[in-house]
């Protein structure tokens, strides 16, 4: 789509005045493409590795208190640099300062207080990183730091209840933020600034927890209590989110025929019930629908891969012989082909 065409679409939709159109047209400063941001991130982490590696190999600083202070100092430099409206060129330095600062802080803190949870100070640093910085990559890393610390805390206290509740909360938040982007960024100007890093970090954390939580709970069945019940609660909340997005899609189709709507939800409920044991497949479906709905291309690719993996695991884990599995797969295939023919017929009917 040409730039002028996009501008025209916005101008027409919001009935912009000539003055506003001119102002919008003047904002020509483009942000760096995604792959440049990825290069900054990778380079920043390599620089961090080199600096931290050098400090530890040479034993330049031996006292943990000094390491902790240097870590905090580097974190403060990151905050200071990211608040200045510098170009994307400085990103590598900012990311490396941030990562080195956090690494040194963790090392120093663990050496001084090995028995006190490191997660809480890290969450505090993450929150400060989100609030004080103006750099999107640092905000994204701060969110990852916060969510990562919460997950580690859950593992440390071996509380499946905590992890499941956390997963449920981020699933609902992620679904809401994806679908109500317009409302969210307008209602809260601060949220507008952190919307993209927050959404991406929530999305990645949810995928991680959904794919890692189930095996961890499986391996520590004796340690984690009520794991089965909680896994079901997580799956049900994911299914609720799927239904929520399907309702949104149904509004787009504006189907007036009540029996058709009833039949649609009946089929959906049966499918959701049949796959209710597979957390990954449910999350794969949810994110596939949500990312397609909100037109987010990179999360869509990740969701598609998650869906394929979830589907593979679902059939692999089935306690059936190969013969029954093959018959089940063939009948599912035929069912989908019938649905395809049905939708094709409906479409050609509408086109007529």
């Amino acid at each position: 789509m040409k730039q002028e065409y996009k501008l025209k679409k916005v101008v027409d939709f919001f009935n912009l005045t000539e003055n506003e159109t001119e102002l919008l047209d003047q904002l020509k400063e483009e942000k760096a493409p995604l792959f440049i941001k990825i290069i900054s991130l990778i380079a920043g982490f390599f620089v961090n590795l080199c600096f931290v590696g050098f400090l530890f190999i040479t034993n330049l600083i031996e006292t943990p208190e000094v390491i902790l202070i240097i870590g905090l100092l580097l974190f403060s430099i990151t905050v200071w640099l990211s608040r200045k409206n510098l170009s994307e060129t400085i990103n590598v330095a900012i990311i490396s300062f941030f990562a080195t600062g956090i690494s040194l802080f963790v090392y120093g803190y663990m050496d001084i207080n090995p028995n006190i949870y490191i997660e809480f100070p890290l969450i505090l640093l993450g929150v400060l990183g989100v609030i004080l910085t103006k750099n999107n990559i640092i905000q994204f890393l701060s969110f990852i730091l916060i969510f990562g610390s919460l997950i580690v805390f859950g593992y440390e206290i071996t509380s499946v209840l905590f992890l499941s509740l956390f997963l449920i909360i981020i699933t609902f938040s992620c679904s809401y933020l994806f679908v109500y982007e317009g409302t969210t960024i307008i209602k809260n100007t601060y949220l507008k600034k952190i919307y993209r890093p927050l959404l991406l970090s929530l999305f990645l954390t949810t995928i991680y927890l959904a794919s890692a939580n189930a095996p961890i709970i499986y391996f520590y069945q004796d340690t984690f209590e009520y794991h089965n019940l909680l896994t079901h609660i997580v799956n049900v909340s994911c299914a609720i989110c799927i239904l929520f997005i399907l309702i949104k899609i149904q509004y787009k189709f504006q189907i007036a025929n009540q029996p058709k709507v009833f039949l649609f939800y009946l089929i959906v409920t049966i499918i959701l019930y049949l796959i209710s044991n597979s957390t990954l497949l449910l999350y794969g479906i949810l994110f596939l629908l949500i990312t397609y709905y909100s037109n987010n291309s990179i999360p869509l690719v990740i969701s598609f891969l998650l869906f394929l993996y979830g589907l593979f695991l679902f059939y692999y884990d089935m306690n059936l012989s190969l013969l029954y599995k093959s018959l089940l797969l063939i009948s599912t295939g035929i069912l989908f082909l019938i649905l395809f023919l049905f939708t094709k017929k409906q479409l050609s009917h509408e086109e007529l």
Binding site: K6, P33, I36, A43, F46, I186, L327, L328, F336, T343
Partner: protein, 320 residues
């Protein structure tokens, strides 16, 4: 290139917009429309239908495989191959469907060889299998001239070469062999360059990008090993070194021809990585780690600045 989302975000700084109005804009202009969803469900149902049915049939035969007679086994795959070829020549299918059919035919050639090897226990190793597959699929790939099939064919040829290296005792040096592999993989880039020269049309980015990434990684590993182990230890390693440098220079040159910054980024990252390796070998002390850190910091910052400037300039020229 700015997307509609970015334009809207910029608008929120200029004009006060109601929340409902903004959500309405997202629903109508940015989010998937009714038509998009119709296409999504249509293709998803078709893909799932064919996928589940295909996998189900494969599982069904896998379960009963031992009980089947060898002629039935070969006949099944053979008739599927013949059936797909007949389908290809039927005029009622669109060009896209035909290209998908030919892709399936190419896969069936491999399956036929695998079944043949399993029934008659020919004693062929993985290299023989992939070599036969590559040779017999070549004609199909050439006739269809379908880029995704060419990409898969390159993957197949590379797999064949990998097994040639692993299973056959070759009388050539490793470096010479891998340089040959990179040379073979750089042919699409060369073809694309010649096409630009004569027809002003390059090969598509998504086809060349994975090949270029693989080539750059290969070249970096080859030159990296040469740097670490020094030139003197291996005969002809200088040949691989010169070829590697020439390839990276050509990638730079090609990037400027097609105005694509990602090729420059890849080649530049490879050069920085190789330079860092040389420093580790040259200094050989703890300080080298710090120096490498500084080099990465400075070079990555310069690279990003250059890429952003080039990207802006080239997009401004093309107007998209």
């Amino acid at each position: 290139m700015k997307n509609l989302r970015s334009v809207f975000y910029e608008l929120t700084d200029i004009k006060k917009i109601q929340a409902s109005e903004a959500q309405n804009f997202f629903e109508k202009e940015i989010f998937a429309s009714k038509f998009d969803w119709q296409q999504f469900f249509r293709w998803a149902f078709l893909a799932c239908g064919i996928g589940f049915l295909g996998v189900g049939i494969v599982f069904f035969f896998a379960y009963n495989w031992d009980a089947l007679h060898k002629f039935v086994k070969l006949g099944l795959i053979g008739s599927l191959l013949v059936f797909s070829i007949i389908l290809y020549f039927l005029p009622k299918f669109s060009e896209q469907i035909k290209q998908l059919i030919i892709k399936v035919s190419c896969l069936l050639i491999g399956v036929l060889f695998a079944v043949f090897g399993q029934i008659y226990q020919t004693g062929a190793n993985a290299f023989d299998f992939f070599l036969a597959w590559s040779i017999f699929a070549f004609l199909w790939v050439l006739i269809s001239n379908f880029l995704p099939l060419w990409l898969l064919y390159f993957f197949l040829v590379n797999t064949t070469l990998y097994f040639l290296f692993k299973q056959v005792n070759l009388p050539v040096e490793d470096f010479v062999f891998f340089t040959f592999v990179v040379f073979l993989n750089s042919l699409p880039l060369l073809v694309s360059y010649i096409r630009i020269k004569y027809t002003k049309k390059e090969l598509t980015y998504w086809f060349l990008a994975p090949i270029t990434i693989a080539n750059t990684v290969f070249i970096s590993v080859i030159i990296g090993f040469i740097i670490i182990d020094s030139f003197n230890d291996f005969p002809y390693s200088w040949l691989a070194f010169i070829f590697g440098i020439c390839y990276l220079a050509f990638q730079f040159f090609y990037a400027f021809q097609v105005k694509q910054v990602s090729y420059i980024a890849l080649a530049a990252i490879s050069v920085v990585a190789l330079f860092c390796m040389k420093i580790i070998v040259f200094i050989d002390s703890e300080e080298s780690i710090l120096i490498i850190g500084i080099i990465i910091l400075v070079s990555a910052s310069i690279l990003i600045k250059t890429l952003i400037n080039l990207n802006k300039k080239w997009h401004h020229e093309t107007g998209v």
